[in-house]
Every structure is written in C-alpha cells, then in structure tokens.
Symmetry: C2
Subunit: 409 residues, 2 copies
C-alpha cells in the first residue's frame, strides 16, 4: 500500500567505514521476525541525537539523553522492536540500563557508551531474558553490509524497510552517508514512534554535531506528520565515524560544511518522506507548501492545521475535490489577525481559490484531475509576508483505522 | 449508529411562548428533505450568540456578528442546510444579506433584526431562487409546536434530530427552556459545523445575555470534540422571549440567576452531548475527566490531547485496552514541566496506571471489561494542583472515514 515506495536494493546501499551491524530474531513480541539490532561503532566515532518532546519519554530515551549528556564517544547502539519500554516506570529504566550493560560487556566499552532504543507497544515490560539472548546473537552476526537487514529489524507496522545511501564529494574527498528509519504511525513534527539512524564516515566535531543533528531533523523528520501523535520513543541519531581520509569538520564555517549538510539532509528527507509514503493506510503522498506567511512559525501552523485535519485527509482519500475543507483548515490554524480575503490556494498548478473564495476560473474537473493523483502538492499563499515552510503528510483511509484498531492483536 | 441517542418524543418538547417555527423542502442541495428553517421571535425578545473562531468565518456568521453588534432585539432566524455559504467571497455576503431582507419583508422588521445561518458544503454558492422560495414556504407554516421539525430541518450528516426541553422553577415561576442542535462532524471546542439554538420564555437583560451565552457555551458546546476541526459556520444562539409572567433577569446577582443558568446548561449539555453521541461514525461515548491540574487551561490541554489522538480513538473503536496510548497523549499535551511519575489513570473505576507506569494491581481483563462498554469515562490525575475539566468525545471508526470520504457524493 505504500505510495511510490519500494524495498531498498542492497547493491545500492553503501557501507559506512566504522559501522558494523547485526540482527537477531529474539521473539520479543512476535515470532519469526528480526526484532533486535546491534550496531558497533569504531573508536573515535561521534554521535548526537534528538528525541521525543513527549513528557512520557520512554525509558530508553531517558537513558540515551543521560548517556549523551556524559559523552559523544558512543561505541554501540542497541534497538528492539515489539515493546516500547514506555510507561514502564523504574523497572523500565533498570531494563534499559541492563541492556546497555550487556552490550558494553560484549564490546568491551562502558555502559554509558551504549545508546538503547525500543519501539512498539507502550506499558508492557520487556522480556529481558529473550532480549539479552537476542543481543548476544545479533552481536555474533556483525557485518558492514547489514544495513538493509538492520532496516528490516527495526520495522513495526512498516510495510517496506527504509534505507537510503549516497556517496558524494565533500571538498576533495568522497563521503558516504547511509541511513535507516522505521515508523509509519504516530508520525508527527517532533517525531513519532519513529527511529532514524544516519551514519557518515567523515568526522564531525563534538562542538557542532549536536547542532548538525537538529538542523538535519528540522529539514526532514520535523516536517512530516501522519496522524499528529508524538510518540514516547521518537529518536533520530547522527553517527560520524571519522574513518574517512578527509579531515573532520569541526566548525560550521568550514567551506565543506554546506556540502555535507546538504547530503545529510537529502538522505534524512528521503528517509522521513519514506515514513510518510509508508504511513499507516496511506494511499496518497501530500506535500503542503505554505508561503506568504509573516514568519516560519506561522507558516508551519497553517501547514500542520491542513495536514492534521481529518476532514482534509479523508477528502484526499476519496479523491474528492472538496477543497473548502482546506480553506477551513487554514482559518482554523489559530492566526488571529489572518485576513482571509488575501488567501490563495493551489492544487498542483491549479488555482482553486483567491481573495478568500473560489477562483472564478476554477473548474471542478481540474481539481478532480489533481485529486486523483497519488502525489499532490497543496500550495497556500497567506498574502502576509515572505516566509514559507513545507510539510509532508498522507491521507486518512479505512486502512489507517484497521491498522490502529488491530495493532496489538 | 448513534450511541444511546434516540429521536425526541414530540409530546415531551415544550413550546416556548414567543417562538414559532416553520420549515420547508427547498431542494438546496438534495431533494425530499427539510432544508430551510424560519423562526419568528416575539417583540421584545433578546438574543445573543457565540460564533466560530475560524478565520474563514462563513458569510452568515459575519452577517450575524454585524447584526448583533447593532441590536439584541432580533425578530427572526433563518437557517439553510446543504450549502454553508463559506469561502464564497463578496457574493456570499450579498446572498446572506438578501436572505435577511426577504425574511424582514415577510415579518415586517428590519433586515438587521434577522440572523442568518447556513451549514453544509463549503465554497459553493447558495441557490438563491430556491432558498428564497423556501423561506417564503417555511414562513407559511409557522407553529409553536414545530420544534422537532425544526431539529430535522437543520440536520446534515446527523442521523438523529436533536431537541431537548425542560420546564423548571426559577424563583416562584415555572420557566421553559427548549433547544435544538445539529452537527456530527467538524465538532470541536470552539464549535464546529454545529448550530445550536436554545430559547427560554423568561426575559434576560441585554446587559448580561452576551455573558450568559458564553457561560452556557463554555459548559457545553465548548467541551465537545469529534475530530478536532473547527468549522467556518459554528454558531450557538440563546433566545429569551420575555413572555414568561416572571420579571426578566437583568443581573447575575439576581437570586434566580443560578437556577436559570443551571437549567440552560442542562439543556445545552444534552444537546452538545447528543452531537457527540451522533458523532460521525461514533460507536462509543467517551467522557474525559482531567484533575490534579495547575489550572483549567492545562486540564483542557490534556483532555483535548487525549480526545484528539487518532491512536486513542481507534483503540476505543477496537475496544482494545491499549492504554499506553492514553499516557502518550498526556505526555503529548505540551505541558513542558509535567512530571510523569505523578500521573495516574483510571478507566471508569479501574486504576490502570500510577506513578507514571502500569499499576501493579491492574489486570488486563479489567481494562477489557470497561473498553467493551458503549460509554466510558477516562480519568487522569496529573498530581500538580486542584483544577479539573471534562470534555466529551467519540471513538474513530471505519464509518467516520466512509462518511467523510463520501459526504459530497
């Protein structure tokens, strides 16, 4: 059902020097599926992450934050699916810590150099015996060529594994960026039951890697939504192994910085858009482009008001050009002094509304033509200023309800 | 499909002295259904209203606001369904004004003493010839006993007409309150494609009637949500004809004020809860009760975060006690300093979570039992203070998607 999204071709996924990955079937919640991932990172790797804004942050998120507050020299990542280890109180924290200790023992590092991640059902305890056994098994299958298997191991309701990769020039060197993501529901601006890991072999200094991960997230993971829910486990991690021949990038003033940032953002956008394309029940991929706003915050408000409206989303599902619903969502965005007579609306290249009402030249057949497509761009001009923002979302279908009504069964 | 909601028994609906109502089948958008309502109000009636916060306020809402800014001495109300007259630009305003002029001509009052209302599809023009003909026809069938017909005439996707009535003592007099509402989608705190009209025969002074209508709305219409969308046409109007033998209530210090307010709120709550019970695709009626908040705004934020979460709503539809989703919605409410270890959660009388995690004594069978009911109360204690709020909502079902994907067809 995913919208123009296909399984990655392993021959086009480039290993990242300094990163090896292993997976296991640990039967965390369901049998016969990869559900544990262990990633070992070479000495000297720097890591930074951004995490959920949900106040019920899962235990592994709390442990990640704590470990990253102590060091960027992370040596391993461990992920389980099936159970989110969220809403699990003190025992959840102890379980996440015990998992890190197990990994640290295997890789001969300290537990604070391990970052744990979990995704799945909330408020159920981790089956620790099976998980630790899976960690051991995964650690026995480490390979630099396991990126696609890793993408499979972190899937929950995903229908397609998400893995993108690119080799490009940064200064005079060729640099590799490869990443994986999971997530198709609870997808929201501040990330949802969504995990993303992107690795590059060029070094990124500890003084800037925390800012870089935020800049990349704000151009990708923080611009997508499926259902407006922010999960307890959202995490996006940037890994820089420094194994490239090129000198590390230590400052944003480095002339190579923009080349690197563009490459990272390109992979992050592909991964995050892949989550939308694989959004629960998605039949359409919608780009919402708001311009003419006073500032970016305002443009985002309007974009998300449209992207979150169940009425707009069901109209996309029905391919029904019931476009007044989009105007209603614009009016519902909480901009108190919005002058609706200055608002224009396009569907792809079709002008639907101007001066706050239906454009005289608009014909329903034109709207119908665009609404029937699998990929649609909604453009709104607020007529108030020069700022703009783009977000990506899906329609709301019967399958969304089915998937979420049946998730646990 | 409505949840414990039944058609009104006309013998239990009390006419309100000073109010006569007439309906017509004007074929506004679909044939063979009542789609025009005209209400004539006796000389001396005072009226106040609250209207949508959507910046794309429909033309009739703009005209209502303008007329009420000039006078509370309203003599007539005119409503059409089928087309919302929203997103219709200048022509929409002219159409709403022309409708008022037609009514004013029939009832021999000024056009500013007429309030117009429309509900239905956005961004399509009103068929004025048919509408004006319908207005004339409706005006020829005026009767004090037409409340249930009026409730039918304002329905769109509603499956059950909504009309409640009560006679109760205010001071030493018996007072009548009767009201009607429509709406089952786009239902949100600041009211949605929702119309509500409540009439009483006791007089309410012009110095307080504007505050009274807000107090009543805040205890009823502003505490419900189906899908989080605020429509362009939401309107709630309070009518006080002053035809009761009792002296008008001119001040909130009048010892009879609280008795009257309680009676008005009781009818408004029944009407607004009826909209939730008849919510698009609803199979469950959910009461969300947040306590232990620092203030009411915070309690409302948490209540709406739960009520708007598609994941929580689909879990209710599935009768699946996947209750971690409720904790995630609490964490997602935007309370930056929420200490999740102080949060408790009940489902009816079953303690599900405490100290931020699953309660040790909680058994899944208990959650399953409550989730299987048609009416469920979710109680959350934030452990931060003494404020509390209650909102009412529905589940999210396959039928919600069907209704909204097919609404125009």
């Amino acid at each position: 059902m995913a919208v123009n999204l296909f399984a990655p071709d392993p021959s086009r996924i480039h290993p990242v020097p300094g990163v090896v990955l292993g997976t296991a079937e640990a039967n965390i919640r369901k049998p016969d599926r990869k559900d544990v991932l262990v990633v070992q990172l070479a000495l000297g790797t720097h890591v930074a992450g951004v995490f959920t804004s949900n106040r019920f942050a899962a235990a592994p998120v709390q442990v990640c934050r704590e470990h990253l507050s102590k060091t960027n020299d992370i040596r391993a990542i461990v992920v389980n699916t099936g159970i989110a280890n969220a809403g699990t109180g003190k025992q959840g924290l102890l379980d996440a810590q015990e998992t890190c200790e197990k990994v640290a023992e295997i890789f001969n590092c300290s537990a604070t150099q391990v970052l744990p991640f979990s995704t799945g059902v909330i408020m159920e305890p981790l089956p620790m015996r099976r998980l630790l056994h899976g960690v051991e098994e995964a650690s026995n299958s480490l390979s630099r060529n396991n990126w696609v298997q890793a993408a499979q191991a972190i899937m929950t309701t995903d229908t397609v594994p998400k893995c993108f990769s690119k080799i490009f020039s940064v200064g005079s060197s060729m640099v590799t960026v490869t990443g994986i993501s999971k997530g198709s529901g609870m997808i929201e601006p501040h990330m949802a039951t969504m995990l993303g890991f992107i690795a590059t072999d060029i070094g990124i200094g500890t003084s800037i890697i925390g800012d870089v991960v935020k800049m990349v997230a704000d151009a990708s993971y923080n611009r997508i939504t499926v259902d407006g829910d922010t999960s307890t486990n959202d995490s996006f991690v940037l890994i820089a192994t420094g194994r490239n021949e090129a000198d590390p990038i230590e400052s944003m003033d480095d002339p190579r910085f923009d080349e690197l940032l563009d490459g990272l953002i390109e992979i992050a956008q592909k991964l995050s858009q892949a989550m939308v394309r694989d959004g629960e029940g998605a039949t359409k991929f919608i780009t919402i482009n708001v311009e003419g706003a006073k500032n970016e915050a305002e443009a985002l408000k309007v974009a998300y008001s449209i992207a979150h409206s169940p009425l707009v989303k069901t109209a996309f599902f029905a391919s029904d050009p019931n476009l007044g619903r989009i105007l209603a969502a614009v009016g519902n965005a909480g901009i108190a002094d919005l002058d609706y007579t200055k608002v224009s609306l396009w569907l792809d290249d079709v002008l639907v509304a101007k001066n706050g009402g239906r454009a005289p030249e608009y014909l329903e057949e034109q709207g119908q033509r665009v609404m029937s497509q699998a990929e649609i761009t909604v453009k709104v001009n607020l007529g108030r200023g020069d700022a703009g923002e783009t977000v990506w979302t899906t329609d709301l279908s019967h399958d969304y309800v089915s998937i979420n009504a049946d998730y646990r069964s």
